[in-house]
Every structure is written in C-alpha cells, then in structure tokens.
C-alpha cells in the first residue's frame, strides 16, 4: 500500500492521475470504518489532510461563501460560519461526537453520499454548488446533480471535491434530525428548512427518507402561494401542519432495522411543521 501526502491540490491531482485507483482520505471517519469492516481494501491512499487550500473557507464577492472540502465540522458549529449558515452549524453539531466533528468534513460527507449524511440536506436546501477538479478540468456541479443515489455521486474517479459554494440567504434557516439517542446517532429522518425573504422562497430538504436527499418542491411552492414568506408574521398552526403533511407526501422512506417507513413519514411531517413554525414564530 502506498500513501501519498500532498501539500497542495495540484500535487494531490498529480498523485491521483498517476494512481487512478487511489482512495482519497480526509478525516477518515467514514473510510476507516469501511476499512475496519473489510468492505474496503485500498492499495493506494492519498491523504488530503495537509492540504491547506482544502481546509479554508472564503467569502465571495456575490455574498456567497465557499467552504473547503477539508474544513472540519467543528469549525462550522461556531463563529462566523454559524452566523452565515446557521442551518449548517446545527447540522454540524448533530454529527457524531466531538472527536468525529474535529475530523469529519463536508468533502467526506459528499464523497460518501449517504442519504443519512447530515451535511447534505443543508446543501440541498440552499442549492449549494460542488467544486470538482481533475488534472484536466475543473467543474462546478449543482448538489442536485451531484448526488445520484445511495452512496452514489457524479464525481469522476480522477476528480477531487475541492469545495462547496453556499449562497448566503436572507431569512431563517435550521436543521433538525431524529435519532433514537440524544447524541451520536445516525439519522432516522432529518430536515433542513431555509427561507429567503427577498425572493419569497422557502426550501425544505429531507434526509434518510429516500435514496437521495429529497427537496420537497411541491410543498415549497404550495406554501409560497399560501403565505407571504417575506413577512415576519406568525404562521398559523393549521397551515404549518398542512405544510408538514405535504412535505411527508414527497418523502420515500423504507422500513429497516433503524425504523419504519411509517414512522419516518410521520417524523418528517412533524419536523417540517416545527421548522416552519420556528421560521415564523409568534
């Protein structure tokens, strides 16, 4: 087994093009588990942790922010990132334990692309853009085109995920996740809701209730017609409930050993109702 320890993205890309079967490792919090379970036996590894460019985030001129694929969750939980993307901070806080949050990253969450990944519903709700780079080209892909299915994404083998760009919205946003334990638990169902007041839009994305993260576009547009999202008025309970009911209709949950489809459908309706009520409280 070889381990390359590049210090820059271009060194990493060189290593990748000379070893097309190499596996990238960032925090290792998904990959080491796979290796321990013997599901993965990499021959060549490219360790991305020392690449500074991947571990920084920047504010862009259009107001959006770009977060390096190697920025650990710990940095999203507090500080300026929390103020700019509160839903991401809440999602980051739900990930694993302090140790996992010190190592785990959005790059890894995107690389794994589990429907239960806690970073992903936020990226879906805010219409994030994924930056991919190979030795030949770099491209930017909407998150909606990036995630293809359960642990499947549109990354080519010669590409590195370098960053995600997240529009900064003007309105309330939040993330909430149901698990059977009060911390350190894999999602049974989750939801991210984000409001953008200037465009009078609301976005809601669901995790762990389908093969990909699900954006509930029907429920979103229905609510836009029922309620002036640019105001700060309280949303009525009945309206919030109906929103939750419509959100649940768009989920595609299954029965498994973690929960039942019925419970997951119920849970996302409750989560959606609560999130929209948090966005428009009395």
């Amino acid at each position: 087994m070889t381990v390359a320890i590049p210090l820059t993205i271009s060194e990493a890309l060189d290593a990748l093009s000379s070893n097309p079967d190499a596996r990238l490792i960032q925090g290792g919090t998904d990959m080491m588990v796979e290796i321990n379970f013997n599901h993965l036996k990499p021959h060549n590894i490219i360790a991305l942790r020392r690449i500074k460019e991947l571990r920084t985030w920047t504010k862009n001129t259009d107001g959006s922010i770009t977060i390096g694929a190697g920025v650990p969750y710990q940095e999203m939980e507090t500080g300026e990132l929390k103020q700019l993307v509160p839903a991401l901070a809440e999602a980051a806080r739900t990930v694993g334990s302090p140790q996992i949050r010190a190592a785990g990253t959005l790059g890894g969450n995107l690389g794994t692309c589990s429907p239960a990944g806690d970073g992903l519903p936020v990226l879906f709700a805010v219409d994030a853009v994924v930056h991919l780079q190979s030795n030949e080209v770099s491209r930017q892909l909407s998150i909606h085109d990036f995630m293809l299915g359960v642990k499947r994404n549109a990354r080519n083998a010669n590409e590195i995920i370098t960053a995600v760009t997240i529009p900064v919205l003007n309105g309330w946003q939040g993330y909430t996740k149901v698990g059977v334990r009060n911390a350190m638990v894999i999602s049974v169902a989750s939801a991210c809701l984000a409001v953008d007041k200037p465009t009078k839009s609301v976005r809601i994305a669901l995790g762990a209730v389908g093969p990909t993260i699900i954006r509930c576009r029907d429920a979103e547009s229905w609510l836009t017609q029922q309620f002036d999202l640019s105001t700060s008025t309280k949303i009525e309970l009945d309206l919030a409930k109906e929103f939750g009911r419509r959100v649940a209709l768009e989920s595609k949950p299954i029965d498994d050993h973690r929960s039942t489809a019925e419970y997951r459908r119920h849970a996302v309706s409750v989560l959606a109702q609560r999130l929209i009520t948090r966005a428009y409280p009395s």
């Binding site: 698990g179 009060n182 911390a183 929960s259 419970y263 409750v270 989560l271």
Partner: protein, 756 residues
C-alpha cells in the same frame, strides 16, 4: 480538597472511598487489557462462523486455507481431542458445529496464521457447503410437540411450575397484561481476547483470558482438550467489563487448541461485530401476568406464564428461568400464585447471563402490573407498593421465608422523599431536551412524566449450588499479600480486598497477587456475589492471620491473646497498656492462611416450585422523571431517584459507581438497547445501530444508600451490582406512560410505540 483526599487515602479501610489501584492506568490508557497482550513468535487465531441461523453442514474443505502461506493450522470439529461440547449447565454447545449450525455466527472452524489479514484470507478460503434450513425462531412454535427438534436434547430447555397457597383464592379486582422484553446485549467495551501459551511438551497450556470465572472455564476447557485440569492453567487478563457475557466459553477452547496444535503462543481477539455473535445475550421474553387483589389494592394472587427464548444452546437458561419465575411477585407480599415458566431452544443467538439474570424480565412485568393495579383501585403508584411491601419474615411464592433484611417500605419512602427535579426552565439548553443534539423539540412539545419501579433480587447462586470463594492472606514485615482467583471485571474487588485487609490487620500496605488458578475457586464475578463471597473469603483469611499474629505477640509479650485487638495500625492490650505497631510485630515473621467462604445451603425446587432455592435478597426503589416529545416519541430521562438496600457501604465511591452504571444500563433497555432479529439474523451487530446511552442520555441520579447490615453477610454488605439496573427500566417506562397515556407493553420503547 487535596488535604482531605490525602487523609482518606492514608487509611483506606472499609468505609473509605479508596481509589481503584488501576484507575489512573485505565484513564490514561496504560492499563493492559487482555487484547493488549503480545508475545514473541505468536500467531493470530480467527474464527469462521456460520452465515446461516440454521443449516446442515454437508462438507467442509479446509485445504485451500492451508495452502495460503503464513497459515499454520486450520481446525474443525474433528480436531477436538476431548469432549466435543461444553456448557455452564448442560454441555450441549459444540466447540465447532459439525452436523448442524444452529445460530447465525456459530463457530465452524478456526485458523492460526502469522497475521490477522492472513487469518482473514484463510477463513475466506475455507469452503463450507451448507444445506440451508428454515430456522425456528418463535419459542411458542419451537416448544410445540409437532415442531422438529433442532437439537438432540430437545427444544424445551426447562419448564418449571410454581403453585403456592390457594390457587383458587378469590378477589375483587383483576388486572392483566402481556409484556415483551427485547434482547439486550452486555456490550462491554473490552472485547473478547485471550492469549494461550502451550507447554513445551504439548501436554499443557496456560491461558491468559478476560473472564468472569477462571475455574469454571478451566474445567470446561480441560474436558474439551482431554487434559487433566492441573495441566490447564488460567491467568486473568485485563477485563474491560463483563455484565454476564464472559460467563460462557467463547474463544477459550479455540485459543488453546491452536496453541497446542502449533506449539506457539496464540492471540485471539474479537472485533465488535464478532463480539455480538461471540457471546450470549439477555433473554428476550414474553410474559403474561395477572394480579388478583382486594378492592383496596392488596394482592391476593398472581398468575403468570413466562417464556424465555434461550436461543440455540442452553448456557444458563435453566437458572435464568428460575430466577425469573421465582421473582414473579416482586418485592410484595403474595400468598397465592400459579406460575409456569419455559426456557425454549430456538435458532436465535444463545442467551444467558446478563446483569439482573431473569429478574429484569419479571420485574418489567410485575411493576407494569403494579401500576395497573394502582389505577384499578384508585391508589397512587407509591401507595399500592407500600400497601403490599414485603418484610423480613414474609414468605415467597416458593415457600421460602425471606430472612434477609428487607427494607422495602424504607426504600420506597426514602425515594419518595427525594426532591423532584426543577421544572424545565425557560433557559434550558436544547441539548437537554428529548432529541438532544438533533434539536427536534421545542419547549411546548415536551411533556413530563413520573414513574415507579421497585424490585427484589436474589444474591449468589441458587438451587443447591455451592459457589464458594477462596482467598489466602500472607502477612510479613507489615505487608499483607492477598491471593484469590476472583475476576476483577470493573466491579472494584481490587479496591475492596485491600480495604478489608487494612481493616482487619491494621496494616496499610497490601499487595495483590495475580488472579489465576494456582489457588482454589473464587466462584463467578456475577450474581452480585463477590463482595459477599470473595470479600468473605478475604475477611476470613485475614482474621485467621490476625489470630495467629495475636498468638505470636501474646506468647512473646506474655499476654493472653484473647486480650489483644487491632486499633488503627497497632495491636493493643484491651486491659493493659501494651501497644505495638503491626508492622513492628510482624518483622521477620510470615503468617499465611487460606480461607474458603461458603454461603448457607440452598435447595432445589420441587415439582410445585417450592423450596428454599435462594440465599439472600436485596431491594431497591427507583423513581424516574422523564421528558417526552410525544409527537416524535423521543425521550429524555431527567432524573432517577433511588434508595437502595445495600446492607453496608464499604466504599462510597465504588457504590455510587455501581448505582449510576446500573441505572444507565437499565435506561438502555428502557429506550434504546436491542439486538434486532430478523428470522434468526442479527440486523445490528455494531455500535452504529446497537445504541448505548451517551452522556446526553444519562440522567441525573440522586441516590440514597440504606444501611441496615445484613446478618448473613460476612461484612454486613449486600451485593449491589444488579439491583440498580432492574427496576429502573419499568420506572422509566411507567414515566413515559404517565406522560403519554400509552400502554407500552414492550421494552425497549421505540419512538413509533409512543407516537403512532
């Protein structure tokens, strides 16, 4: 602060919060667990397990594995030189499956190789042809006479009937329920691991092993190896928790077989996933219970039928069953009863010992029933329990008189007097809400509930078993050294034993010798028994040594030894002025004594379930306060108030550790811990999906220790390990019921049970 600590530590006698001698090493990572062992030239061992819950083995071809370079041995059933099977009560479990595999994960073959990865490849290369059969997974079905036998010994492991008093006794009120208890795992953190060293001639072996009972292991191992017991020497490896899961043989025989075959030291250790298949679990059970009572809430009669799923092999199922049914009444008076208990063989994973040992299952049922009874006669949960509370001298439904101190009423009253937690404040942190870091709930979604659970638990082994304990004390030059085979599994006997020696002998320095089979048995570290049994043995050995020391000092100074006593670290003459430090008195001499502690004899049950089958009993009350997000079915246990009958507190820090840990484990069973089975297959053999409580799940524990010394107990102290985890489970479920109005007849309570 540090000064007081110093003071306490300078005389760590009984009653002091002596610190664990291995505490710092454990916290800093320096402690050597059995998985940390290493030897020159060692090989690794690994186990091939059945992927099927039930199948016939048509053929096993090990040649491809033997061809892999680095592989030294591949062994199957035909390589077992001695007895082909083992078991704690009935030797019905094969060292390797030969004709049939009867549960998913059953060992089929083992390999020894130069590296774990070589082992893994070798296991993959072994070709096993199976004829897959339909597993029998429902105990009710398994025990029908029309169902095929999945083992030559039959599908019914044990049936026991109890009839007591007047089975036709009449009453005003009846309440009944059907209760289900899921399969809990002990989930100790230190995984199964061992290292075996072959004797040079190949006719003996030394096994370093994390176990609960060295001597019992030795007997079973020696029989399978066809070696005399004295040629099999066991040494206790560093144990990271046990909770019952280390009572049965797991890798012991395998590891020794490979060492003897290869002539090299063999290291074996399970992964977390393998551990879920490598040890027994808590029995899932179905319990029907019916209480008959007067209209003012006095129990007249209890009827019950309990079915325990024993899984594929017997393990301790017969004893677990007896514990379950003989605790049907709980800590309450009951003159009349009819109970039937069945332990049944299925193609589910074998089940056996786990903290609480059958009583956990019975308690969930009887405490749920007590709340139904309270509601039926308009009493509070506290009043119905006080009205029926057992006292010393009462008879159990087995006809046995409870001779133990039985402060049930005090446990309930003192628990009741513990202040309730403050209502949730406006400033409460969302992390403290049900749902925790998932931020699912807002304040107005949360409803608070309160519930009760009270329990009785037998201490030590039952049904005529003489589970004695042995200890040796050697005193020389002011230092006592203690030798015993007691397994330290985290319970703190390594802290307690020196405290006993210091108290009895008036010395400060105590050395613990290696725990191994070079001395008589200590019995198992289970059944809440080691403080009583091994504690009694250490106390006895130290007292014998002290007697001899008094004789020696008496002779030397011309004082009748009867007048001598130990005061702090001196020997004094109670009627004169003579005083000498123990350290001075023991210069140049060595006194050594061995003592066996036996508890009083117990009896088998007769065909009506009557007999003095248990040694002694301990009691505890729990009051749970929970916050429930009713709409999502999520729970946060806010506070557990408890008063426990402990006899005497020998080490307050150790004692509270047992109470808090047991409460967390009982909480686990109440709301999250379950091995999920699907037609004989384990669906969640990992900590991703087998959920243990985290710090955000653990409640605030407010505990009172009720000290009424137990006359039968050598140190006055009752076993305290099991009671904390028993009635806390029904207390939490009762609290969730009170918040939600749901019946909740099964544990663990799942979110969908609450909100759908």
């Amino acid at each position: 602060m540090s000064a007081t600590k110093q003071d306490v530590r300078s005389r760590d006698t009984l009653g002091a919060s002596a610190l664990r001698p291995d505490g710092v090493a454990k916290v800093t990572g320096a402690f050597s667990f059995s998985s940390d062992m290493w030897a020159e030239n060692m090989l690794w061992g690994a186990t091939l397990r059945s992927p099927h819950p039930y199948a016939r083995i048509i053929s096993i071809d090990t040649t491809p594995a033997l061809l892999i370079s680095g592989v030294s041995a591949v062994l199957t059933a035909q390589d077992v030189p001695g007895k082909a099977t083992y078991g704690l009560i009935s030797a019905d479990q094969p060292v390797f499956a030969s004709e049939y595999v009867r549960y998913m994960g059953e060992p089929v073959a083992i390999v020894a190789a130069d590296h774990p990865e070589t082992c893994r490849r070798a296991l993959e290369a072994i070709i096993v042809n199976y004829e897959v059969l339909t597993p029998v997974v429902d105990p009710e079905l398994a025990m029908l006479s029309s169902t095929e036998l999945i083992h030559p010994d039959g599908n019914l492991i044990r049936h026991q009937h109890i009839v007591h008093g007047d089975p036709n006794a009449a009453s005003d009120i009846t309440v009944e329920g059907n209760y289900t208890i899921g399969m809990q795992d002990q989930a100790f953190l230190g995984l199964e691991a061992a290292m075996a060293f072959p004797d040079s001639g190949g006719n003996g072996v030394e096994l370093h092993i994390a176990t609960q009972w060295l001597h019992e292991d030795r007997g079973q191992i020696a029989a399978c190896l066809a070696l005399p017991e004295e040629n099999v020497r066991l040494v206790l490896g560093g144990v990271g928790g046990a909770f019952g899961a280390r009572e049965d043989i797991s890798l012991q025989v395998h590891c020794c077989l490979l060492a003897l075959r290869t002539g090299k030291p063999i290291k074996m250790q399970y992964s977390r996933e393998e551990s879920f298949f490598g040890h027994v679990h808590r029995h899932p059970a179905k319990i029907w219970m019916k209480h008959h009572a007067t209209k003012d809430g006095k129990i007249v009669k209890i009827e019950s039928r309990m079915v325990f799923d024993g899984g594929a092999y017997t393990s301790t199922s017969p004893a677990v069953l007896i514990n379950g049914i003989t605790h049907t009444q709980g800590p309450y008076q009951c003159d009349n009863a009819i109970v039937d208990g069945y332990a049944v063989r299925t193609n589910n994973p074998p089940c056996g010992a786990m903290r609480g040992f059958g009583v956990v299952q019975a308690c969930f049922a009887h405490e749920s029933q007590m709340d139904l009874l309270a509601a039926a006669c308009g009493l509070s949960p506290v009043d119905v329990r006080l009205k029926n509370a057992m006292r010393t001298g009462d008879k159990l439904i087995t006809g046995q008189t409870v001779e133990s101190v039985a402060p049930v009423e005090r446990c309930i009253r003192e628990t009741d007097a513990i202040p309730m937690p403050e209502p949730m404040s406006q400033k409460a942190n969302v992390l403290e809400f049900p749902g925790g870091s998932g931020r699912t709930a807002d304040r107005h979604n949360i409803i608070r509930g309160v519930g009760w659970g009270v329990s009785i638990k037998n201490l030590m082994y039952s049904e005529g078993f003489d589970d004695y304990a042995t200890a040796r004390c050697t005193l020389s030059d002011g230092v006592a050294s203690l030798k015993f085979a007691t397994s330290e599994v985290g319970q703190g006997f390594v802290t307690l034993a020196p405290q006993i020696a210091r108290s009895v002998l008036g010395i400060d320095e105590v050395v613990l010798e290696t725990s191994d089979t070079q001395i008589g048995s200590a019995g198992s570290t289970s059944a809440s028994r080691q403080t009583w049994m091994s504690g009694g043995a250490v106390d006895g050995a130290c007292r014998l040594v002290r007697e001899r020391l008094f004789e020696h000092v008496g002779k030397l100074h011309n004082i009748d030894p009867i007048r001598l006593m130990v005061e702090n670290t001196d020997i004094i003459d109670t009627v004169g002025t003579f005083r000498i430090s123990v350290s001075d008195a023991t210069q140049g001499i060595t006194i050594s004594e061995t003592f066996e502690h036996h508890h009083r004899k117990t009896e088998d049950l007769d065909e009506n379930g009557q007999g003095n089958c248990h040694v002694a009993f301990a009691f505890v009350a729990h009051r749970a306060v929970v916050d429930v997000d009713v709409e999502l079915g999520l729970v946060k246990v806010v506070q557990i108030a408890t008063a426990q009958d402990v006899g005497r507190v020998l080490n307050p820090l150790s004692a509270i550790g047992q109470l808090e840990g047991g409460i967390a484990q009982g909480l686990g069973l109440a709301v999250m811990e379950e091995i999920i089975m699907d037609n004989g297959r384990v669906k969640n053999p990992s900590f991703t999906d087998y959920l243990l409580p985290t710090a955000l799940d653990a409640p605030r524990v407010v505990a009172i220790m009720i000290e009424e010394p137990e006359p039968q107990a050598p140190l006055g102290a009752k076993g305290i390990g099991e009671p904390p985890c028993i009635s806390v489970t029904p207390a939490i479920v009762a609290a969730i019921r009170s918040a939600t109005g749901k019946a909740l007849l099964r544990v663990p309570v799942r979110p969908q049970d609450i909100c759908l």
